[in-house]
Symmetry: C3
Subunit: 152 residues, 3 copies
């Protein structure tokens, strides 16, 4: 099954990303490698949720935010490589979680991201990952994700 077919099956449409707000790019390809920018849970450039895990944002909200981050990352990658079927491997996912003091369940939040990647890319989505608790994230985002991918 192609990624496009899987997205339809999942009822997911990759978003159209607005251009970055400054002179950087949403993702950058070199040869077989693609690095995505860090993406936050935005829709049409607006955050859908703000705040920190362990304070204002629930675990479930955080997981949903993490899914949205991944969707934006994959949209950015698709914008550069055209077709997500070209992804051989997601080498690395780094998940950044805005964390109130004492919140240490970053992995559970980022599981939302890891799960969606596998839903969309299957075996090709199996990634190494790092989950971290940040003091603050851009615009008050609760989660940010970036990816390193390899193409076939």
């Amino acid at each position: 099954m192609s990624v496009a077919e899987r997205l339809i099956q999942l009822g997911i449409q990759l978003p159209q990303l607005p251009a970055p707000a400054f002179n950087y790019v949403s993702a950058r390809q070199y040869g077989s490698f693609v690095f995505s920018s860090g993406h936050t849970p935005t829709v049409n450039g607006e955050l859908t949720v703000r705040g920190k895990l362990g304070a204002d944002v629930s675990l479930q909200q955080g997981q949903e935010a993490a899914r949205l981050c991944v969707l934006n990352c994959l949209a950015a990658v698709a914008g550069v490589i055209g077709d997500l079927d070209r992804v051989e491997s997601v080498l690395k996912l780094t998940g950044y979680v805005a964390s109130a003091p004492g919140f240490v369940d970053q992995p559970a939040v980022i599981n939302g991201a890891s799960a969606l990647i596998e839903e969309i890319l299957g075996e090709h989505g199996r990634h190494a990952r790092t989950a971290l608790g940040l003091a603050e994230l851009p615009g008050g985002a609760p989660v940010e994700v970036d990816l390193v991918l390899a193409l076939r």
Copy 2:
């Protein structure tokens, strides 16, 4: 001297890592490159120390934790490539230190990681590195490390 011989000389045994707790992997190879997941100072999946530098965890404890993170990273890499003699170069080590307000000696903590890498891999272990002070880390870990490596 092979890495295996050096490990024996150092009295170090690479641990057997439990499988990750979710659908990601401990390290991911693509061609000549390997990305490790972020690893915390666990033994048999349990953290050996919890807390923050500058509060609950001493510099020496932090350095020991950083060594354990590296050991887990290298075990993860060995699990993927089989033999650490295949490592041509540790390209990048990123060291994440859970930091209480005002603790700014992240480099001294991460020196524990850098030192062990060189003990084990010699010249092939010479790496670029970034040391950072995080608000929180998974499970209350004081340190987390991830690696990017190149194979010969």
Copy 3:
């Protein structure tokens, strides 16, 4: 125009970096890829500014600090590859901003870094990027930057 000519036109001289304080390196090359270490806003190894955005350090100071981080990163890369004209692409810039509670304008700080990269490297400097709010950075630095680059 060569990078050297552009630097002269900009009135910028790449600094001579002191050796790292421990057994890591300022940047590491493998084939077509270069990973820089994280660099803070130092001149001759001394931070020019300390503190956090949102508390002790203004946005403008933060942007100037971010420029200095980039200058140090590029000096490190030049020290490894010899000639910045060999840079085909800055694949990834990660910008770490020491952030007081409630400071969420990390992207504006890191724009200082992104702008300088484009001034110096032109189109070859177009990068994916991640901007993050850290609890603390080494030595009390307000900003730290690292790069992944590809060579032609």
